[in-house]
């Protein structure tokens, strides 16, 4: 029956455009930022995108909060680097470009092994068990130096054999393009998974597990399959990381890495497919740049996360989508003054708080350098009353202004949303 009926399927221009832009962005990015540092950042962003999207198969699509996902990317890294070393030693004929797949298979294997236990539960219990499994593997990494390389980690060399078509994977740019290809293919694959019946069942398991059980599906099996998919892609990210850094240390399976996946996927926005991509960019920027600028970066990160959970549980992606909706109805113009005021006052609050935090850190960590410190070009006396008073003054004044602008913004925002709702109703009535 269905085979005979003809369905009109127009070419989905928007989708092709977005994927084309994504591929173009991956291809062009190293041409725009050509320095060696930018290239390493871009490579890491490519890896982080795969890892964060893999994590979001659990968090966003399956509603499973994992505190130990670094286990799968990390074990993928270790098996990939051991495979690379075997290929270097000539024991294994495997092209370097396929090494990340070995990591993926390793991630899949361990996700199947450990996921069988963890996915027996959902919700908070699942979270705790993943935490326990993460600690288990982390402790194992200290006990088995033969596999995990102990303190120094396992090193490798990604230049194996003769160059093929001039590609030896020695220069960073070649590795970047390998990462870009994997990143694009994995992103497409993971997006495709969300469109399959399995992906839809996974959403159903997230939203209403009881009903899914009544229909006759096993929620545990759906979770288990999703867990294995996620482990596979996390393993690919791990394998790419092994190729990129040519060294794998035990910290890749550690709790800090798992925590970073969770934090940044959430900040990026777990409820949208593209949210983790934003999260991945933020993650690399924070881990590489922010941690260089300030020692207090974990504190900032924690505070931002707290406020995000309280006020924008959909992450950056949801903020973007909400404003896109406003823009689609042509009402963004009315809000931009309020946005400017909000940005200005919140900059004052954050700046003042940051100055105070930096001063405390300076006093705590660099007592030998004396109370003088420079922050963004200005010299501050970290023990002086004037700099503290100034900072507190800025925080108080801009805090008060922020509250005022926030109230008027909230009113405007509410008005705009109401108008949009009315407009939607009107259009529905017309059709």
């Amino acid at each position: 029956m269905a085979a005979h009926s003809f369905r009109f399927k127009p070419w989905n221009v928007g989708r092709w455009l977005i994927w084309g832009l994504f591929a173009l962005g991956l291809a062009v990015a190293p041409l725009l930022w050509q320095s060696g540092f930018a290239l390493t950042m871009l490579s890491q962003i490519g890896i982080a995108i795969v890892a964060c999207l893999a994590y979001n198969v659990l968090l966003g699509q399956g509603g499973m909060l994992s505190f130990g996902h670094a286990v799968y990317s990390g074990l993928g890294s270790f098996l990939a680097i051991h495979t690379l070393n075997m290929a270097s030693a000539g024991q294994l004929a495997l092209p370097v470009s396929l090494v990340p797949l070995v990591g993926g298979v390793a991630g899949l294997f361990f996700a199947a092994l450990l996921g069988y236990v963890t996915t027996k539960k959902a919700g908070t219990t699942f979270a705790m068990i993943t935490l326990g499994i993460g600690e288990l593997v982390w402790s194992m990494s200290l006990m088995l130096p033969e596999f995990f390389g102990g303190e120094g980690g396992v090193t490798g060399n990604r230049v194996v054999g003769k160059p093929l078509l001039g590609i030896s994977f020695g220069p960073q740019i070649q590795v970047y393009y390998l990462i870009a290809v994997y990143c694009f293919v994995c992103t497409v694959a993971m997006f495709a998974v969300t469109r399959t019946p399995l992906g839809r069942m996974l959403n159903a398991v997230r939203d209403n597990p009881e009903r899914v059980e009544f229909i006759g599906y096993s929620t545990q099996r759906v979770r288990f399959i999703a867990f294995m998919i996620s482990g596979f892609f996390a393993g690919i990210a791990g394998g790419l990381g092994a190729l990129n850094f040519e060294i794998v240390t035990a910290e890749v399976v550690g709790a800090a890495r798992s925590g970073a996946y969770l934090l940044f996927v959430f900040l990026g926005g777990a409820t949208f497919f593209f949210g983790p991509i934003i999260g991945a960019v933020l993650m690399v920027v924070a881990l590489v740049l922010l941690s260089e600028w300030t020692k207090a970066w974990l504190l900032y990160l924690g505070l931002i996360f707290l406020f995000m959970v309280m006020y924008a549980p959909g992450g950056v992606a949801s903020l973007i989508m909400m404003n896109l909706r406003v823009a689609a109805y042509g009402k963004l113009r009315r809000l931009w003054v309020a946005y400017l005021a909000l940005a200005g006052t919140s900059l004052g609050v954050l700046g003042g708080i940051a100055v105070m935090i930096e001063m405390v850190y300076h006093v705590q960590l660099n007592p030998a350098l004396g109370p003088q410190m420079t922050l963004l070009g200005a010299t501050l006396d970290a023990r002086g009353l004037d700099s503290w008073f100034g900072a507190a003054f800025v925080v108080l004044i801009s805090g008060a202004l922020f509250e005022l602008t926030r109230r008027s913004f909230q009113r405007q925002w509410g008005d705009v949303q109401e108008e949009i709702e009315r407009e939607i109703k009107r259009r529905e009535a017309l059709t």
């Binding site: 027996k120 908070t124 068990i129 088995l144 996360f305 959970v309």
Partner: protein
């Protein structure tokens, strides 16, 4: 023999410390459905508060004040942050406490520094509580306090000391257990808490302020963690790394059964013993294999795994137990709820 007794006591005291933490966590979880990821952070806070207060008012007032401060911090957090995300569901609640754990850890490092602080037990708790003497001539005996040196100096005599801080830890934990149990079952506020636990709407319509009860429970749970922190601080080292106990207490409450206080008690003792007892056994599976006639030498590919001694494997045993429990008894030892 004497070493075994000391080990057993060490294991039980570690278990009781774990129980001080896991009881608060269980209380919060079973009441509010919130898994407090930052529970170990309040343990950390308790230790550091007590360290500062000891310098100001002495140890014994600090023992009382530090948990109260930690509890107040917890209540403040519940009032200002946790209550806001309550309507979003359990995963955001878990996430916000996860964020809090980052913030508290960084704040502690900001205020007290990244290295250890010298937080010592008061003079009354220094030294051994009792000494076990395994004498070649007199057999086995027990002396309260420090044994006279002449008893330990003779050849073949072994003296094992049990520190007073550990004994104090056991005493405080047991007193706390008793107090919590009496509070929950014998007082009016305990009855309200129990009512709010099972029937929040009914308790609310009878005129009880359920959100305030929740705040109280969250604060009390954090205070219990703070109390454990004071005891842990004087017994072990006071450092930011203390918060690493977190995953263990989560393992404990899954092993014991989510939301079950007796389960948390059993799980704590089990995990405490499991962490401590194997530390003295320097035997590995290679030795076991040799016992049954299978010689595994360095050439065998299984050797790196099998050569790990039980003492080395002690840190992973609680997690292995967790995995085994999940496979064979998914609701935990004394748990009642599935899923």
């Amino acid at each position: 023999m004497d070493q075994l007794v000391i080990n057993l006591l060490n294991g039980i005291s570690s278990g009781l410390l774990l129980f001080m933490l896991s009881s608060g966590l269980t209380l919060i979880f079973s009441m509010m459905g919130v898994l407090n990821f930052a529970h170990a952070s309040f343990y950390l806070l308790g230790a550091y508060f007590a360290y500062t207060l000891t310098g100001l008012v002495g140890f014994w007032p600090a023992l009382l004040l530090a948990p109260l401060l930690a509890g107040a911090a917890g209540a403040l957090f519940e009032r200002s942050a946790l209550r806001r995300v309550h309507k979003f569901g359990h995963v955001p609640e878990l996430l916000i406490t996860f964020g809090l754990s980052y913030v508290i850890l960084e704040l502690v490092q900001l205020v007290w520094g990244r290295s250890t602080v010298p937080f010592a037990a008061p003079a009354a708790l220094e030294g051994p509580a009792f000494t076990l003497i395994q004498s070649a001539s007199h057999g086995f005996s027990l002396v309260w306090g420090v044994a006279p040196p002449e008893l330990c100096s003779a050849a073949g005599d072994i003296c094992s000391r049990f520190p007073r801080t550990r004994a104090f830890m056991m005493a405080v934990a047991l007193l706390m257990l008793l107090a919590v149990w009496l509070l929950l079952t014998r007082t009016r506020i305990g009855l309200v808490i129990q009512a709010a636990l099972t029937h929040p709407e009914m308790a609310e319509s009878l005129g009880h302020n359920v959100p305030r009860v929740f705040m109280l429970v969250f604060g009390s749970g954090c205070a219990l963690a703070g109390l454990a922190g004071v005891i842990g601080g004087i017994t072990f080292v006071t450092e930011p790394n203390m918060a690493a106990i977190g995953p263990i207490i989560f393992a404990v409450i899954v092993i014991g059964g989510m939301g079950s206080l007796p389960g948390a008690f059993l799980g704590s003792l089990l995990v405490g013993l499991l962490q401590t007892m194997p530390l003295t056994i320097d035997k590995s599976l290679v030795d076991l294999a040799a016992r049954v006639g299978w010689i595994v030498d360095a050439g065998n590919w299984l050797y790196p795994v099998l050569k790990i001694t039980l003492a080395q494997a002690a840190p992973i045993l609680p997690y292995l137990l967790l995995v085994l429990i999940l496979i064979f008894r998914p609701k935990g030892l004394l748990g009642t709820r599935e899923g």
